[in-house]
Amino acid sequence: MSSRLGSDLHTIGVLAGREFKMTMGSASTYTALGLALGLAGWMLSNDVALVRSNGLLVHVAPFRGPLLGALLVLSFFLAVSAVLSVARDRDRGTLEVLFYGPIDEMTYLAGKLAGLLGAYVAIMPLLLAGLVVLSMFTRFEIGINLIAALVLSIIPAAGIVAVGLLLSAAAKRVRSSILFFITAVGLFVGAAVSYSFVSRIPVEDPASPILPLRDALGAVDAVLSRISPFTYLEQIFDAADTGAWTAIGGSLALSLAGTIIASLLARLALRWRGVRTREE
């Protein structure tokens, strides 16, 4: 039993190392990091312009919006990497070759998850370094709570990777996995944006069809926000930033539970879909 566990851990380590090296050696990783810092820089430049035009600005955490924006960009990149990961291995035949060896679905997915999460952890100091440079330029304060939020974002990031791996395992090809991912993101974002838009429409007649539509979209948004790992990233970030540490525990636990459920579902999907390359 212990030798089997040791062997599995070794396999996970090797797969994770491979995934980590591929991600950290890829130009797309640094492009995503550049885009994340570009977004942060743009948001900060708006605040700097506000100081210049109004003469002053009062802010509790000027880096809150830029850091959250940067994390969303990076987590989106992470999700895409995860989505492409399994489907690409299946398309190239790598998956079939791997499963002739001492690898099962769980060790394979655990290796992928660990590798991508490791890359996320490695990117964080680079992101923080970029933000420190921006802080030196603007004299805007970063704050210890935001750094804590950055560290805690690892948990929802794991959830994002797990959901990406689930979509990838369920898809037959790379193209299908991307379509699944776009649909999922479209649903999550679309529900929230639609509800926000419909809520702002003024209603004067209680018989207006806007009312039941608003309630329906509100219910759909409430359900989807419970499932979306991006929502947990935002919740944990907000709670850490405002120092609501008791609320963080609940969100972290739910996010972790979501990660485990998504991983188990990914395992089932991989078993159902199989590891062989599908011929056209």
Binding site: G34, A40, V51, L56, P62, L98, V133, L134, D205, L211
Partner: protein, 446 residues
Amino acid sequence: MNRPARFVVAALVAVAAVLIGFTGLDGTDPADAAREEFVYYPLVTNGFEYRRVPYPEEVTTIQLLAEEPVAFDARRSVVAFWPITREYLADFAKLDESVPGVAEVIDEHGVVTAFEPQPYTLWYPRGLSGEPQLVTGNEAQQTYDTYVEEGRAAFEADRQYQMAVARLQEQIDEWLALAADGVEPLPDPPGELTEPAPEPYVAYAAEPALAPIVQLPAGSYTLRWRGDDGQIVAGSERELAVSGATRSGVAYTIIPYDRWTQPIFTFDPNESIYLAEDQDVFLAPLPVSRYSAFVYTRLLDPQTIDAPDRNATLWVPDETDPDLTGNSVQVTSKGEVVDKVAWLGYRVFQEPNATRGYYIEEFEADGALRPDFNAMRLPLDRSVTEVGLIGADGHAVANSSRDVRRVPAIPRGALYLPALAFIGLAISLRFFLPRRHHMRQDSQTV
């Protein structure tokens, strides 16, 4: 249609089905039809104003501020759900039947306290635009009687003054008629009115009424209404959630020299003030207290869907026009006190040749004139890193400090340098790393 596309279509159909299922054929649920209910109609407060807020049976929790008196009123009315604002509303125009009785409050230990009806009035000493006070007991009638007496005296004084003005005007008209007729010799014109106009009387007191006045410390209670027949009125039980401030502090109104009519506020002690390098500002402190946003927004609007996050907080001023004579703002530079700026009056002088058409100077008392605002002027010294309020007793006021930072004039493009650095690294990795290195990476297997 291939499988992925079928999956997408299936997902969209499922979402549409859920939406249709929720909407139904019409939005009206028979269970939401109007019905007669017991409604509390108390005069509640958020610390600044008092307002009558209906609590139908569907609103099971009444939010109150700790140590603030609330006048409880009980009615029977017709209640229906209003879908536009998602509230249960009482239609007092249809039915407004008073339910006399006594308010009973049960605390966490089961102790029951009865609040008998007593006289009360809403007293506005500085007029209806000022903050009201709920005056109770014998003082309520006295306050009202004094208001009536003073109001009548002020009215009479104003009437006498208006009559004197009218008499003077009559004399002026007569003199003008004589002057127009060319009467010689023309008498001296009537003199100016020497008596000053009486101060307008703005205070107001509502006619006293009877109601149980409930004033409780922070905690959870149960409220019920015992009717005149000695029985608990059905539907009268509610939860009373009494909350106090979680923290107190000092807010600042920041008045920029070049936009003195557009002040900016800082309420949260964790906020920092970021100033342009040459910005001149005045600080006007204001005592504030922190409350749960969830609780505070429901004091006057219990059925609102706003502020659902129970962890969110907000800061509320304790008073709107404090007298801070003797207070000062301590200015610090890197931990070392560099200055103490006193609370002074300032006046704005219009000057066409000035840069902004005006200049601001320290106010010097001159008869009836009053300063345009009272504040403490922050020194222009760029090394200032922190400000904090020092009370009249010489001690620092808790939660009054703010970090002050001067934002340098940097080119906007500089903020994209870190991004460009990583994109440059990405380009190097993609195009300039040897192909042999890429091929070695791709061939790695377990």
